[in-house]
Subunit: 508 residues, 2 copies
């Protein structure tokens, strides 16, 4: 009796699995924000148990038989039972099967090992970075890389093992696509960087490293988050060594920032950045919680949300037209004599630097490309883990003309590898490209967007993102959704146009 | 081949279950300390899933067959396979079976319902208390009581359904035991209270409600916790509406406190109290984590640890000989002109009051008895939930001669009922009695304990508790362990002696 077949039992089971993952996400958030230092080993075990449990439940006989009512488990072909379903429910099944297909390839014991290793490695990395000691991290990094290579074998791939990893963060994107995209981008960015470095204009960025009371910085960050529409009744802002966003449900989306007395941009732009991520998670359809329709599409799209707010909005002149006088009011001593133009130039100053997360909009992508290339070498087996520091420094010199004094500011700077997140970095640049495409379209769709922004009214943009992206969850694939919105497939042009015209104005 | 039979597979499985419960405990801790208000419903679902999962895994075929290798599942009789095991491992099996026996009586769906209801009810209670609105809480409380009555039916009992609930917090203790114990205690306490109220001595407690900077109060609280040997590398201190202790592992034991500018005792004694709980959890044998040998015996013993530190130590003259000069140094303006004797008298001032957690050592037990009697009426079906406020006020008048102005300071004051924790309150008074028994013994065993305390050296006492109680987990039952240590079964005499001699000195 196909007419009585219901999706409800499957959805109920998926929700239960999500509750387990939420608890694991809370264990991770807590590890970064509140956990006592002495509890690292216990936390690793707890996380390993929970993630294994979520994995085992997902590939269990229960889910298998529920899913088999709707879809051919081997090929993903929809069965006739799906015919009566609305499109979004067919998408739910399609995406659930995609996850199921991948999960089924991973042995339970492997999931346990990977999770435990990553939780431990992250703690070792934190110390190794503090102590500028790559060697201390080397054994853990070796284990992680070995595990990730093992994972590529389970997952399978056609061209490159890197594709298997990339696919977990950015479905449907491959090395074969990224290589030429990054090549084009690199050429144009390097040329633009050359022009900027040759320009006689040098903004005075030192105004940003005066002494700024950290409590006041946080208050200002919260004010901006409020203006963006980030809902503190369904979220919170904490401090952590590295800003991040996590979600346990659309009603509990947490962001973190960091704040330094002599670095105004750090707290400011991480609030805007994580706020963008946070709005995406808060904007998901709570009724679809636990299913793919209540999940974010991909890391590239996620990053497009954060970079859109951080850069397209937060580094625009319009934005500061409204917010700079407020900021001057909070820091009169430091900023009264600074003009809006000088401030705008300072926060957009382009200059090669060592740390990715502090890089300007242009060189940021060169940092990403460097990581992508190193990861590719590693995963495709052409280099060994111990060669990473020297390769890093070599490429820094080649791409940005600077070499870090120490590994803490070099190869040890990012948390990703300790988390096993190989294949993650390229999504940052994809995010920049998507952000520019989406912001260009939003500027057409929303009447007088620059003027709204210039008066501090950011909610029309938030609503546009809610309606065009957030509400759908994974109903459409990344490229498909962006094409529906912009009528264009992934392209670097809007980003390059945006950046070139901005930089031309700034650097004459 | 019995010689190859190992406990390891059972222990590994028990650990996994504990990891799930740890995650649930973190979800609860977070609900009290950090969770955004809008996420109450989602959190209730997450908790319900995790607790159900822990329950289902515990009564699963896996555990059943592992346990059946060692013990007759119906009677708890050890099988011959246990003969070769050391005593502590036999105890592990005995206690695991006790938990298993009880868990097996509870249907999985009941566990889900109870957990969800309690998480929601707690959130409703928080608001109802703030708004002094018992009616708002009434429907939730009705559901909870109905669920707890249902639970007594599943668990079974001989005399009173209350016994079934009491047993989950204080194994082996029954209503039949508590009634005469409390009757004796009540008579003696009421007589002592009469003497005190008739005494011409009235300590000036107003010195404790001067303005005390809250940050400095917290700093002092932390200093005391340090002195007690509470390990901040394996724990942390947070703020919450109601102080509590939670543990996710002996390496991650968290306590909370609250701090009010004009109420010095609140933060101070809750730090000592929760610190006592925290030391117990930190003192458990981490190698036995996940098994009953790595768990605390009962709530009565747990409370004995907190009350021992809070009262026997923290309200002693010896303690303040060392710490009062330090406190005077922190608050010179408020305390320089206050003598040690005056301060000691103020923190020990006995007077009938409305709020249990703020009550003095004597009247505290009358608060507990009142709750015990009300709960008994409710669970034995002689009164209805809606009658609670009037019964509460009646009994307050009878026991303490005062009637609260409002339900927030009356029937709504405690979180317990919203958590479904009926049968919990009597353990507070058991804790007071055990604390006095243990402290009396420790004073004999530890050379010159008063002098150690008077010089701020508290670690000998901590070590004594570690060695005599904490390290054993649930290897021995509460009464058995206390008898081993003190050569006496549970008795109110040490408590009454301690209190009487202290009060006689104070109130002449």
């Amino acid at each position: 009796m196909p007419q009585t077949l219901s999706l409800d039992p499957l959805i109920a089971k998926l929700r239960e699995i999500h509750h387990i993952r939420d608890a694991a996400a809370l264990l991770s958030w807590d590890q970064e924000t509140h956990m006592p230092a002495g509890s690292g080993q216990a936390r690793a075990e707890q996380l390993a148990t929970l993630q294994t449990l979520a994995h085992d439940t997902f590939v269990s006989a229960d889910i298998t038989s529920l899913l088999a009512q709707w879809i051919d488990l081997d090929t993903g072909t929809p069965l006739s039972s799906q015919k009566s379903l609305p499109h979004h429910q067919q998408a739910l099944l399609r995406e659930t099967w995609q996850d199921f297909r991948k999960a089924r390839k991973l042995p339970s014991a492997f999931v346990t090992r990977l999770e435990r290793e990553c939780s431990l490695a992250q703690q070792v990395w934190t110390q190794a970075r503090q102590q500028n000691n790559f060697k201390a991290f080397l054994p853990n990094l070796r284990s992680i890389v070995a595990l990730k290579l093992e994972e590529t074998q389970y997952l399978g791939y056609t061209d490159s093992p890197y594709d298997a990893l990339l696919d977990t963060y950015e479905p449907d994107v491959t090395v074969a696509q990224i290589r030429p995209l990054f090549a084009t981008l690199r050429e144009r960015l390097v040329a633009l960087l050359g022009d900027i470095l040759n320009s006689p204009t040098i903004p005075d960025a030192s105004i940003l490293s005066q002494s700024f009371d950290t409590t006041k910085q946080l208050t200002f960050g919260k004010m901006i988050l409020d203006a963006m529409g980030y809902d503190f009744d369904r979220g919170r802002l904490d401090l952590s060594a590295h800003p991040f966003t996590t979600s346990f449900h659309p009603t509990d989306v947490r962001i973190t920032t960091r704040v330094f007395e002599r670095d105004l941009p750090s707290c400011l732009f991480s609030c805007l950045h994580e706020g963008g991520h946070g709005l995406y998670e808060q904007g998901l359809n709570a009724e679809q919680y636990g299913t793919p329709l209540g999940e974010t599409i991909s890391l590239g799209i996620h990053e497009s949300q954060s970079r859109l707010w951080e850069n397209c909005v937060g580094r625009s002149k319009a934005f500061w037209k409204h917010f700079f006088p407020i900021l001057q009011n909070i820091f009169p001593e430091q900023l009264t004599s600074v003009s809006l133009d000088a401030f705008y130039a300072a926060i957009n100053h382009v200059t090669p630097s060592l740390i990715r997360v502090e890089a300007d909009e242009l060189t940021y992508n060169l940092h990403v490309m460097l990581r992508f290339e190193i990861e590719l070498e590693l995963i495709e087996g052409r280099i060994q883990v111990k060669e990473l520091p020297s390769l890093w420094n070599e490429k820094m010199n080649e791409y940005l003309g600077i070499i870090p004094d120490n590994d803490a500011d070099g190869v040890l700077q990012d948390v990703h590898w300790s988390l096993g997140a190989f294949g993650y970095f390229p999504t940052y640049t994809l995010g920049n490209l998507y952000a520019a495409m989406l912001f260009e379209q939003a500027s057409k769709d929303i009447q007088d967007l620059p003027r709204s922004i210039a008066t501090g009214q950011l909610l029309s943009l938030k609503t546009w993102l809610n309606q065009n992206i957030h509400q759908y969850g994974r109903q459409f694939p990344a490229d498909g959704l962006v094409h529906t919105i912009t009528k264009t497939h992934l392209t670097p042009e809007p980003f390059l146009n945006y950046l070139t015209s901005k930089m031309k104005a700034l650097y004459a």
